[in-house]
């Protein structure tokens, strides 16, 4: 059984249809890359998965349990949603670290508020996660004292703190200087194989090609093409995919 199963997700903002029926599934440990031109609905899809937006139709299931069903009227029950959110993590394009907390506290704040673990366990986990993103030496630093790349790595550690089933990245390197994208992509790649299941929206084609197990090309709110990186990048079936790939290669 697939870890994540998304069926028929539709989302409108007023009269604009942004998502027009998205279906895909993801096995545990897989990395899915989502590519597509601006405005095709990639961010909206991730936001629906994290319940920052509520899809109008469709279902989202994790491990066979339906977490979200657009057909049900009580889909917006807050306390309920809060628990369901914990199946997903989200790393934002603009990091959104909490500026008043140092790195360690950024990572551990949510755990502390949950009060499920002891202080020592929480701290230990925080330190381990910061080590995993290569920031053991920045534990006490505040976000404003870090480079963009370092901030994004803290944000990744923060998202990992609650051990989500699926970790989503929305263009994690788009706000970074080119020379800083590498360190972040390396961290994301490093998570692969530690049975993290990930969805990465990205414009970094090389990364998508080399790291993803599965690639989705989105256009105008639908999945125009889905397959292995080889399928999508080397043998695109949809002319839109080919056009998009050509254009993104041109820009270099």
């Amino acid at each position: 059984m697939a870890l994540l199963e998304v069926k028929g997700i539709c989302k409108n903002f007023g009269r604009t249809e942004v998502l027009k029926g998205i279906d895909f599934s993801l096995e545990k440990g897989e990395v899915l890359a989502i590519i597509g031109s601006s405005g095709s609905g990639k961010t909206t899809l991730l936001r629906c998965l994290n319940f920052l937006e509520y899809a109008d139709e469709g279902t989202i299931s994790v491990n066979g349990n339906i977490l979200f069903d657009g057909a049900l009227p009580e889909k917006k029950n807050l306390a309920d949603i809060r628990n369901k959110r914990l199946h997903f993590g989200l790393v934002f394009q603009s990091f959104n670290l909490f500026p008043q907390y140092n790195c360690l506290d950024n990572v551990t704040l949510a755990l502390k508020l949950q009060k499920k673990l002891s202080q020592e366990e929480i701290k230990e986990r925080g330190l381990r996660l910061l080590d995993r993103v290569g920031l053991s030496d920045k534990i006490e630093n505040y976000p404003c004292q870090l480079s963009g790349g370092q901030q994004q790595r803290v944000a990744i550690a923060r998202a990992l703190a609650l051990s989500p089933d699926v970790l989503c990245f929305d263009e994690p390197t788009s706000a970074l200087d080119p020379e800083l994208t590498g360190e972040v992509l390396k961290v994301i790649r490093g998570l692969k194989g530690q049975d993290s299941t990930m969805i990465v929206v990205t414009h970094e084609m090389e990364f998508a090609k080399n790291v993803a197990d599965k690639v989705i090309f989105m256009a105008d709110g639908v999945i125009a093409e889905m397959g292995t990186p080889e399928d999508v990048f080397d043998r695109p079936k949809n002319p839109k995919t080919a056009a998009f790939l050509n254009k993104s290669l041109e820009s270099f």
């Binding site: 809060r82 989200l90 959104n96 508020l113 505040y142 404003c144």
Partner: protein, 231 residues
């Protein structure tokens, strides 16, 4: 003579200080509440709150002082003259004028709560949505997000406008004089009447300056304390 004047002015200043203290103590939390009202998703709450803030900010504090001072009694008498009679109205009618000091405190609290509410609103609305979303995605409740994520950032942002407003409050306390509350300016003017001395009036400036100076130092200190982060 200098000692006598100083003592007398100190007495007046103590009243000014009490107005300042009470106003601050009650107007800050009330202002936060009003700001929530003016940001509410519910129109029935948001709309009246905004109208209220508009009226209070759009009329002089002096007028509000007078209204609070004479208002209840006037309403009571007017209602009684129309033949309305119940416990509340009778009570209002016998209440010719309110206790001066209480009237000042009430008017100041209402007035400053409205100004503070706008500062709070500005501060809260200036926090990027991403901060709330980051909290939501981490499974935090609305309350947790407000207190653990947003509040300190808001505080940092509102310190400059707040310090401005609070320093204005120090000087606004002199308006209490309008309804003959014995604050520092009033006590200085007593010397004009009784002894023909003008200089005590100018001497009051020293008290205001000293107090505002202390407040400035305090606010600078808080600003420094919050300097460790940017946001």
């Amino acid at each position: 003579m200098f000692i006598t004047v100083t003592n007398s002015l100190l007495e007046g200043f103590w009243v000014s200080f009490k107005i300042f203290g009470f106003t601050l103590f009650f107007a800050l939390p009330l202002g936060l509440l009003i700001s929530f009202g003016s940001m509410s998703r519910f129109k029935v709450l948001r709309f009246p709150t905004k109208i209220f803030v508009w009226i209070i900010r759009g009329t002089p504090l002096m007028l509000q002082l007078i209204t609070i001072y004479y208002g209840p009694g006037l309403v009571g008498k007017w209602a009684a003259s129309l033949g309305v009679s119940n416990f509340f109205i009778n009570w209002l009618a016998t209440w010719s004028v309110m206790d001066r000091f209480n009237a000042v405190i009430i008017a100041f609290i209402i007035n400053y709560a409205c100004y503070f509410s706008e500062i709070f609103r500005g501060g809260i609305e200036s926090i990027p949505r991403g901060q709330y979303e980051a909290g939501q995605v981490l499974g935090m409740t609305k309350t947790q997000i407000f207190f653990k994520v947003v509040l300190l950032q808001v505080l940092k942002r509102i310190i400059p406008p707040m310090s401005n407003e609070i320093i204005t409050l120090v000087k606004d306390t002199s308006l209490a004089r309008t309804i003959a509350v014995y604050e520092i300016i009033w006590s200085a003017q007593e010397f004009i009447k009784s002894k023909g001395l003008l200089w005590p009036l100018f001497y009051t400036a020293a008290f205001y300056l000293l107090f505002c100076g202390l407040l400035t130092i305090l606010f600078n200190y808080i600003e420094k304390k919050l300097d460790y982060f940017k946001g």
